[in-house]
């Protein structure tokens, strides 16, 4: 079996292969649903209903999509420059820690000042966290896949340490959780009485902002050039290492906003289960979006829908909601395959 590059992928193929990837994901999930003794069609119908069947379901899906947009953007930006940031999870927690540190009463400021300040500080924390691996990559050639991935575990342990130590809520009955953020540090709800908060709006604005950076600015151009061909970029005078550092700052900052928005908009405090792997799922989101910042919005809503829908489905059908994890993981694999197939054709023998 060999791969032969295609000269130019047609528009039809560019659209058909991702669609095929989703169909393949459903087919594979269907096997597992059958194994669990349920009918795939009715289970998929329940998932769809649970994800978008009512106003409540839809708002719940958008709420879940919010952190995924941020982590998806973080990954999309980094992967564009071929900076393999697998550490969005760690950067998310860095943002969450900063939000809790500044948002629990340390700064008595009005919301209009406090919230932007916390956002900025959270982004800085996430950015600095990714700067280390980027520095090691550009100066010493240390593989950033390894460093960013391992930082996820280190950060989780740091959070655990903080929650058992200085950040522990004295009123928390011994649970490892932080104090709750003050009202001025909370993002308001978009629909009163529902969980959807203004973090979603910030996420959409962030996606537009990243899109503008990638399409319209010299930095976006540099990032794409470095990602496609670092040797040619360097030869043409593009400062490759500086560009990678800037990419790291942008990517880490975006991932940290996910932590900020989860604490400030939804949970109110920091716990060890703040993120059920949003950082990792961001990779799936970015790949499904083919690294397009605006596509990230759609991909995040789609993936969030699978999770929310699967939760709802598991309450009625006798299929565990873990099927959502299987589906998103499968979606990543089928999508990567689909992307490859749009660019290469397989020749047997």
């Amino acid at each position: 079996m060999r791969l032969e590059p295609k000269s130019a992928p047609s528009l039809a193929a560019t659209l058909a292969y991702p669609a095929g990837a989703i169909l393949a994901t459903m087919a594979i999930a269907a096997i597992l649903v059958l194994a669990a003794g349920a009918s795939p069609l009715s289970v998929f119908a329940l998932v769809a209903k649970g994800a978008a069947g009512s106003q409540f379901a839809l708002l719940e899906t958008l709420t879940r999509a919010t952190p995924l947009i941020f982590t998806g953007l973080a990954v999309a930006v980094a992967f564009r420059a071929k900076l393999w940031n697998i550490g969005a999870e760690a950067q998310l927690y860095a943002g969450a820690i900063v939000t809790v540190v500044l948002g629990t009463g340390a700064l008595p400021l009005p919301a209009i000042v406090l919230i932007p300040l916390i956002m900025l500080a959270a982004m800085t924390a996430g950015a600095l966290l990714l700067l280390g691996p980027a520095f090691l990559k550009t100066r010493l050639g240390v593989d950033e896949v390894v460093t960013t991935l391992l930082l996820n575990f280190i950060m989780l342990l740091v959070v655990s340490m903080l929650l058992e130590g200085v950040l522990k809520d004295p009123m928390g009955l011994g649970w490892p959780q932080s104090e709750r953020v003050i009202a001025e540090a909370k993002l308001p709800r978009i629909v009163s009485g529902k969980r959807l908060h203004y973090g979603f709006v910030i996420a959409v604005i962030a996606a537009l902002w990243v899109w503008v950076i990638m399409k319209k600015t010299a930095l976006g151009y540099e990032m794409r050039a470095v990602g496609h061909n670092p040797a040619a970029a360097r030869f043409a005078g593009i400062p490759v290492n500086t560009v990678l550092m800037k990419t790291a700052l942008l990517s880490g900052g975006l991932a940290a906003l996910a932590g900020f928005s989860e604490v400030s908009g939804l949970k109110g405090n920091l716990t060890l289960d703040l993120s059920p792997g949003f950082g990792y799922t961001g990779i799936v989101v970015a790949m499904l979006a083919m690294l397009n910042p605006l596509g990230v919005i759609a991909a995040a809503i789609f993936v969030a829908g699978i999770f929310v829908g699967a939760d709802a489905m598991s309450r009625t059908a006798d299929v565990p909601s873990y099927i959502a994890n299987v589906m998103t993981a499968t979606a990543l694999l089928t999508m990567v395959t689909a992307i490859m197939l749009t660019r290469y054709r397989i020749r047997w023998r």
């Binding site: 000269s7 130019a8 319209k216 600015t217 010299a218 930095l219 151009y221 540099e222 794409r224 050039a225 496609h228 061909n229 040797a231 040619a232 970029a233 360097r234 030869f235 043409a236 005078g237 593009i238 400062p239 020749r347 023998r349």
Partner: protein, 506 residues
Amino acid sequence: MTATPVLHLHNITKHFGPLVANDAISLELRRGEVVALLGENGAGKTTLMNILFGHYVADEGTVEAFGKALPPGDPRAALEAGVGMVHQHFTLADNMTVLENIALGTQSSWSPRFDRATALARIRTLAADFGLAVEPDQTVANLTVGERQRVEILKALYRDARVLILDEPTAVLTPIETEALFATLKKLVASGLSVIFISHKLNEVLAISDRVLVLRAGRLSGERETKGTTRQELAALMIGQEIAPPAIAEATPGPVLLECEAVCAAPASGPVGLESVSLALRGGEIVGLAGVSGNGQTTLAALLSGIHRPRSGRFRIAGEAVETWSPAIALQAGVARIPEDRHAVGTIGDMSVTENVIAERYRSPRFSRHGFLDWAAARGFAEELIRDYDVKCPSPEARVRLLSGGNMQKLILGRALDPDPKIILANQPTRGLDVGAISYVHQKLLEARARGAAVLLISEDLDEILTLSDHVCVMFKGRLSPPSVRGERSVRELAELMAGHGMEAA
């Protein structure tokens, strides 16, 4: 010569979309003959060989080896039938020895023991019989290009190849190595092998082949016995018309624009760096740098391009000592660079023509304001270059990967020469280009010279160096010979210098 066809390609037709790469081409190779496949780049030579080797499946036509049809699309079939190929870009494992490379893949991965003694004896016999001197225990990374090519040929012979296909084999060789290769080929055909020699160099085709097949735009434009044809006839068949050699005006030397004095540098890539290189480039002159590839040209080019720094020595541009050095600074100082590898270094294949042409200047006020790019201006510039430099491409949005080598090079030329640079570094500017594109590149370099630019031309093509250069230097093992003016040294003398004779004095 007997009349048994060892290889028969019959009516091969291959389309790539609207493009006809091969149009009903037939080729018959007999035992003990050398057939030259002559044609410009893009004429269909490579496609034809890819079909023979099963990398592509022909739309029509059949391939027969030794009377048996080869199944289409099976790369193993041709190898097993005794057809061996030596590619232009070698396919050797650098970190393994010559012996290991040759024997690699000739026995099952499951067999417990490798019979080294037998393999060694066999390689030594083959090497002695055909004049292919190599040291079997040497690591490939330490070999010269010529030696690597010999290993490739041995590899094919070790696999009992009866037909040998050589793709542009002389592109990387010195004149002396080329002579040795031709001697080897003559021994091979004398022992009954057959050779297909792919080239676009007329002299070599005339020197080595028995028969010439000329391809033009996917068609067989002519087939001639080598004895009964002439250089002019073949050139006419190949390009459709004769291209006159460029007219070269008298040089009008200007001030020294770039000067290296006793510059030493670590190798930029590969094994050879620079040892005390002194070089002065004057405006209005072309300095040609001849030499076998891998003798430090890459390092010198990297240094002048800004991607490498000297370890010691003085380096001045327009009389001013260079303190800090990078590609961006080089560009600012008016150094235009045409890199050796247009695919890996010169262009970004997956980006558009527009995105590629602004790569060196996207921060200039012409193309950006406050960090935002002016894509309309960029597109306008791309259209301008496409028009002025006669680049054939569907649109400024086309990905550069889709352009032919010649058009890619015209784009790089346009990008480099548009700002009227004072100093031009042209590293292998015509390698792999067809006759038309070569003459275009030469003309552009001569125009720059007439404008008063200083040009350093690094090339492995001695003809090119001799035609264009006002001064010629030879590079060998990181050292530079003193320059000679046009016509001062004969080809033979230059070839001696390229082989390292007389360089000790330099």
